[in-house]
């Protein structure tokens, strides 16, 4: 390591720092942008809950709705947990 390299190494390469910070923030903001198009999810969850309640008595927290990214496509995942007593009503 030459005499000059020493001075350069002690002064941190700020361009590299800038690039790393940008990669993180840009990835984060792109992620949020992607989810903005799913801002209908809470409403969808509420309406589904109302439909299911016509047939089964369930609590608000028994329905879970989620979007999963799987490679190039997205999966809308809907999970309704029925308790033992609810199942009996269904029969």
């Amino acid at each position: 390591m030459s005499f000059f390299d020493y001075f350069l190494a002690t002064r941190k390469n700020t361009a590299t720092v800038a690039k790393e910070r940008l990669q993180i923030i840009v990835a984060h903001e792109r992620g949020q942008r992607g989810t903005a198009k799913f801002d209908y999810l809470p409403l969808l969850q509420q309406e589904l809950l109302e439909v299911v309640r016509k047939y089964v008595a369930i609590q608000d927290d028994q329905i879970k709705i989620n979007i999963e990214k799987d490679g190039s496509y997205e999966v809308l995942e809907l999970n309704i947990a029925l308790s033992e007593t609810d199942k009996k009503i269904q029969k």
């Binding site: 005499f3 000059f4 350069l8 700020t14 590299t16 800038a18 690039k19 940008l22 840009v26 903001e29």
Partner: protein, 268 residues
């Protein structure tokens, strides 16, 4: 049919107006009938940079409101054939533009010109969206600096979601990255992100870099698009950019500085 190109950035003061003037002039120098529109309503500057501020009679908003027609508002450049300017209004605000009005004017210009260049105002709001809405291609102007790159990323997101092409599910706007105010020497010293760094983050094809150059201020002082200054490195860089835009191959001669004997000697 004409090509509509928006020059946009998100962040202010990065070189959109300089680029719009230089790029439009470069296209006209190559024989294409070109018009450049100032979308910065209320803060018009393109007329000054192009040196035609004293010839403005009717403006973009007048044409939209039917207070004057395009022939009255278009200013023919005195130096370059086939180059026209449509100035912005100085007295109205950005709400004076309507999508229907802008569409009507752009449609009419497309009949008469090969290229319609739209100089966008800064920001990500209505004014910037108006300027990009009917674009076929976009030149995203970025400085190699954190806030400018981040804002450019947001503008790229808006180009692909809020424009006519996006809303109507047409082929997306073709994007080009232009990095301006680039100091290759500082890049070498690790003080500034390189063109490759910025390109990698934004993932848009690189059209070119424009060096930080004192000739840009001198050109705007005199009201001469920098592409007309044959001694200017920035002017040369813009001419390269125009050539690449037209599909020609040009080496990227402004990305790397020639390393000095001193720096080679000490391996920095």
């Amino acid at each position: 049919m004409a090509n509509v190109i928006v020059v946009t950035s998100g962040k202010g003061g990065v070189g959109k107006t300089t680029t719009s003037a230089a790029f439009a002039t470069g296209l006209a120098l190559r024989g294409f009938k070109t018009v450049v529109i100032d979308f910065d309503v209320g803060l018009r500057n393109l007329d000054l940079v192009m040196g035609c501020e004293r010839r403005v009679v009717y403006d973009f908003v007048n044409v939209i409101n039917g207070e004057g027609n395009l022939n009255q508002a278009l200013i023919r450049d005195k130096r370059v054939d086939d180059l026209f300017i449509l100035p912005a209004s100085q007295t109205r605000d950005k709400d004076a533009l309507t999508l229907e009005g802008v569409e009507r004017v752009i449609q009419e210009l497309k009949q008469r010109f090969d290229f319609v260049i739209c100089d966008s105002p800064a920001g990500i709001e209505q004014g910037a969206i108006m300027a990009m809405y009917f674009a076929d291609e976009a030149v995203v102007v970025t400085n190699p600096e954190v806030s400018s790159v981040r804002d450019s990323d947001r503008i790229i997101g808006i180009l692909s979601s809020k424009t006519y092409r996006a809303v109507h599910n047409l082929e997306p706007i073709k994007e080009h990255l232009l990095i301006t105010r680039y100091a290759a020497k500082r890049v070498n010293q690790g003080e500034m992100m390189s063109a490759e760094d910025v390109q990698e983050i934004l993932a848009v094809p690189l059209l070119g870099v424009i060096p930080e150059s004192p000739s840009v201020l001198q050109a705007s002082n005199a009201g001469i698009p920098v592409t007309l200054d044959t001694h200017s490195d920035a002017g040369q860089a813009y001419l390269d950019v125009v050539a690449r835009f037209l599909g020609e191959e040009r080496p990227q001669r402004f990305i790397h500085s020639k390393r000095s004997f001193f720096s080679r000697l000490f391996g920095t």
